[in-house]
Amino acid sequence: MVKKLLKSLREYKKETILTLLCMVVEAGMEVLIPFIINAFGGCVQPKLSDGTYGEPNVGGMVLYGAIMVVAAMVSLLAGMLGGVFCARASAGFAKNLRKDMFVNIQKFSFSNIDKFSSSSLVTRLTTDITNVQMAFMMLIRTAVRSPLMLIFSIVMSFMIDTTLPVIFFVTVPVLAFGVFFIAYKAIPIFRRLFKRYDALNGSVQENINGMRVVKAYVREDYESEKFSRVSNELCVDFTKAEKIFAFNAPLMQFCLQGALILLVGIGSHIILFGNTALDAFSLQSLTTYSFQILMSLMMFSMIFVMLTMSVESAKRIVEVLDEKSDMVNPENPVTEVKNGDVCFDNVSFKYSLSAEEFTLKNVNLNIKSGETVGIIGGTGSSKTTLVNLISRLYDVTNGKLLVGDVDVRDYDMEVLRKNVAVVLQKNTLFSGTIKDNLRWGKEDATDEEIVNACKMAQADEFIAQFPEGYDTVITRGGTNVSGGQKQRLCIARALIGNPKILILDDSTSAVDMKTDALLRASFKKFIPDTTKIIIAQRIASVMDADKIVVMDGGMINAVGTHDELLSSNKIYQEVYYSQNRENGEEVSVNG
């Protein structure tokens, strides 16, 4: 997993290494200063063999003073540079990771997309990446620095005195054991609690989305009570868990100050009764080392916590990076779609190979260029699945699907999809002007082409009514146009590329009947040679089609014209009469 992630480091490897180097230098200087101050102290009050102090060595003082200033300067420089390199490395790492994920997602086929929910993909690209970025930053700044500080400090301590630093062999294990024990105890509890916390936030989301229902049923108090009950439980449990962490600070202080007491006590005894070079400066240096050693331990435990917290994020990122698109362009692809013929040759399909049931079973269907084909059927009858195969959004499991007499798998995918325009059921507009949105269908479309497509899609009229016309900015998600307007814009976007096959997947459900009829009339008039495949709920939307396909349970139940089906097909009749309940009346209406 780590290897996979680090692949995205690329051009920022240099910065990462520089950061590590800077940190080594910084740690070295950091540890050097207390050592020099001890030597410095030796010059101020050179200890004579009889235990009294000799004359100060001013030259030595100046020398050591200068060394310390230089060390501080070098440490400053290394620290600042390290900070800068580290920021660049981690931000760059995050950038590359985000890009690699995004690029890979762009390669996803529909079945890959179906695997992840879009909100989870968004979280992976944002929050998870940020977590990894922070962890990476922590890691390269401290992963080298902390252990080095620890080792250097211990070594230096022993260079000052050979007995006193033995104290560290008591304090270090106590602190290390204590801190990791606390983390070990607390982390799993916190993980569980955070899950519950997420669930609480989930219920808030539900509440906000369902506010109309809450208010309509006067359930405000009920919801408040429900919320405060869970919120209260969480408060109690979080408090319990955090109390475990409350031992961290006193433990740290205990070790730090305990070391100080031992240093002072034992050190003083040695200074007073032993024959040693130790003095006040040495004690000062040793307390500094003790502080540095314990601090690096604490940093270490923080990295540990941070890493365990970000492991989940890293896993989720790698999952996306590892997802391989299951659809690739063929070698020597066909780059021209001859005509709008569509032929299903005994096609079966299931969404996942392990699924027991086929979603589509033995479909045989011939559609000639320029025909209008309606598809009718209940929810779950696989209408959408059927048309999604045509532009190779999914690959057929068995059988063959030909477009323009060529198997769809032999086409260059881009060519195929440019020629088979699908207006999806769940469609979206993107933020940008209406023109921007329409140019999705044809990048270099002229204004005239745009207006033409919109006229055909019955969208020109309402667009013209906007003060900004075709330059009207669509907000994110297309919230500033109505459902029907959105659908018509989506149709225009599909029409603009002049496709050989146009597929409307329930794309006029929010369009009123009259406009719907106008739409179909204009298709007939302006794009007679384009094959039109229309999925609809309303019989009215398909009844004038050349042929109507009735789908039921993943199979074609019947194919025929409106009149044929109305006289012979049970499902069609049912649907028809559910929409025109009083049979016979429409005769009087039309009559």
Binding site: A87, T126, V218, S431, Q579
Partner: protein, 656 residues
């Protein structure tokens, strides 16, 4: 959401536009609502901070004892006895510190969690009291981020930043006192160092804060772009837009990298800078201190309160090595503490921004309710008068107190709704409903048809007072609905919407949502009425099947049947069905229709539908166009009239 109201991202205040006094208000809440906990915290912080910062005093005394032994004032064993005393004092004082910092951790856990719980509850309570307008105006994601990001920022503030800052201030004060006690001269060096640190912090920290703000914005932008693209990923595929999407993504991604890099660079620089200014301070103190000592020896050159208390007869006394060495440690500690402050600044700024948004929500005007007419259980006495009853009689009446003479009248709940020349607009000066008049007799079925945006949903928003009308009157059983308490008004209206909005819980819970005290039998009856019973008992756990995320494990039609059952159990005399069946196919609709048909029986029903077939058998069909009722009548009348309805209806057939 509602027609005519555009969703906007208005919840996030721009930097510099924050409400005034956010911190003060936050502190006031902390200090008034959690007085004992805060007090306990304060005591613990003071004790542990002081205990943590007086090491210098101990060390100075120890070093002084060394000096005296060397000078021959003490014998070695006298010196040892002196040091042992100090060591014992250290143990006692430090032990006190450990106890209090342990206590502090526990108190802090309690305080933080209670504070967060109370804030959460307060926000949620408040949110329940806000009018629908609020939810139609602000993006739901923005409201959500109050619960996630902003509350998290507060957690950081209360559990970390505030205690840390207090502790730092006390430590710094203690250190200053001790330093001034020993040597004003050496302290002056520290002061110079501190000024340098402050200047650098201000400069670098300011830059860092600036770029962090920019980073926040860039993150928002990137997230926005990602969200949009990922949500439309299938459209991207269909139009082969992948490469362009990547190119656009590169642009936002690079920008984010740029500011993220800058923000973190500056913040990463801060610590080494402060730390090394501390180091230089350390060296300078050692050098100058020792220099003074060597140059002056027994001459009285040092100034400090130490002199007054140690028999020098004033503040002037000789500087000793013990003082210089003790100072070294203190100077280091001082610099470290300043570093701590700089560490907390960003999180304080974030917490303030979060608190600002939280207060923004808490300060929102709640939904007002001036109604005084209430719904009561009613019974009819022997004279045929309606009387209030404390039993559940199954009959309801409006209790209408008259303020003028103190009398009370009872009107039986029948379900007659009258709209009388109603005007309405979601925003002022932009009227979406003009002069709408409707009369719905009890038990009648009123349908609204018209294009999207014609104002159909708006009318139902007005009847249950999600929004208040601008002009005209709406009467329920002859009572102006403005006089009816909102909760009672809404209780008397059942509602089924296109978005089913089921809640996490069992099927039983979800149906019972319509009437919390409904018995199991009532729930079954409602489910049967709604035609939902059959599919429910086929679910793995029947009525105890858990539903999550809006019933994702059910089909659209099943979800809708549940929401109809939910409306059925509340048994209101008036029902509103807003596009209840428009997202299900017509065959499934047949099944749902059976549910709605029996539900509608004997009730006043307002029905909004896209499909004309659904509304054909309504008693009155209102055709809406641009907020006006242009035609009304039953199906036959409207067809006969050959107007807009006729066009709409026959539009489907005109191509035959």
């Amino acid at each position: 959401m509602a027609n005519g109201v555009m969703s906007r991202r208005g919840n996030v205040p721009l930097p510099g536009k924050m409400r005034k006094g956010v911190l003060k208000r936050l502190l006031k809440i902390l200090f008034t609502d959690y007085k004992p906990l805060v007090a306990a915290m304060a005591v613990c912080i003071v004790i542990s901070a002081i205990a943590g910062s007086i090491a210098g005093v101990f060390l100075q005394n120890v070093y002084a004892a060394f000096g005296k032994v060397v000078e021959g004032v003490y014998s070695a064993s006298d010196g040892w006895a002196e040091i042992l005393k100090i060591v014992v004092t250290m143990i006692v004082i430090y032990a006190l510190g450990w106890v209090s910092s342990g206590t502090m951790g526990i108190v802090s856990a309690i305080l933080t969690q209670r504070f967060l719980r109370d804030m959460r509850n307060r926000i949620f309570d408040k949110m329940q009291r806000l009018p629908i307008r609020y939810f139609d105006t602000y993006a739901h994601g923005d409201i959500m981020s109050i619960y996630t990001n902003d509350i998290d920022a507060l957690r950081q503030l209360v559990s970390q930043s505030l205690p840390q800052l207090c502790s730092t201030v006390i430590t710094l004060t203690t250190l200053t006192v001790v330093m001034v006690y020993y040597s004003v001269i050496l302290w002056a060096i520290v002061v110079i160092g501190v000024i340098a640190i402050l200047l650098v912090t201000k400069k670098v920290g300011g830059k860092s804060a600036k770029y962090f703000m920019a980073q926040q914005q860039a993150v928002g932008k990137t997230e926005g772009y990602i969200e949009e693209m990922i949500n439309g990923q299938k459209v991207v595929k269909v139009f082969c837009h992948e490469e362009k999407a990547v190119a656009e993504f590169d642009e936002v991604n690079d920008k984010l990298y740029d500011v993220s890099n800058k923000a973190n660079s500056f913040s990463n620089m801060l610590m080494p800078i402060i730390h090394n200014i501390g180091n230089i301070m350390y060296v300078v103190i050692a050098f100058i201190g020792c220099g003074i000592y060597i140059a002056t020896r027994e001459m009285s050159i040092n100034i400090g309160f130490y002199g007054i208390f140690n028999g020098y007869g004033g503040m002037v006394f000789p500087l000793s090595i013990s003082i210089v060495v003790a100072f070294l440690g203190m100077a280091r500690q001082f610099a470290n503490q300043l570093g701590q402050i700089s560490n907390q600044i960003n999180s304080v700024i974030m917490a303030m921004a979060g608190a600002d948004r939280i207060f923004g929500l808490l300060d929102e005007k709640p939904e007002t309710d001036d109604g005084y007419v209430t719904l009561v259980n009613a019974e009819v006495d022997e004279n045929g008068n309606i009387k209030e009853s404390d039993k559940r009689t199954g009959r309801w009446a409006w209790k209408h107190p008259h303020l003028a003479d103190g009398s009370v009248t009872y009107t039986e709940l029948k379900g007659e709704i009258v709209l009388d020349h109603v005007d309405f607009g979601y925003v002022e000066n932009k009227i979406v409903l003009h002069d709408v008049s409707i009369k719905a007799e009890p038990g009648q079925k009123i349908a609204f048809v018209g294009a999207t945006g014609a104002g159909k949903t708006t009318i139902t928003n007005l009847i249950n007072r999600f929004y208040d009308i601008a002009d005209g009157k709406i009467r329920y059983d002859g009572i102006n609905i403005n006089k009816i308490k909102k909760r009672d008004l809404r209780k008397s209206l059942g509602i089924v919407l296109q978005d089913t909005n089921l809640f996490t819980g069992t099927v039983m819970d979800n149906i019972r949502y319509g009437k919390l005290d409904a018995t199991d039998e009532e729930v079954y009856a409602a489910a049967k009425l709604a035609n939902a019973h059959d599919f429910i008992i086929r679910l793995p756990d029947g009525y105890d099947t858990m539903l999550t995320s809006d019933g994702a494990n059910l089909s659209q039609g099943q979800r809708q049947l549940l929401s109809i059952a939910r409306a059925a159990v509340c048994n209101a005399p008036v029902m509103i069905m807003d596009e209840a069946t428009s997202s299900i196919d017509t065959r499934t609709e047949q099944i749902v229709q059976k549910g709605t048909d029996s539900l509608m029986l004997g009730r006043t029903v307002f029905i909004i539908a896209h499909r004309l077939s659904t509304v054909r058998n309504a008693d009155v069909i209102m055709v809406l166009d641009h907020g006006k009722i242009i035609e009304s009548g039953n199906h036959e009348q409207l067809i006969a009239r050959k107007g807009k309805y006729y066009q709409l209806y026959t539009g489907a057939f005109e191509l035959e």
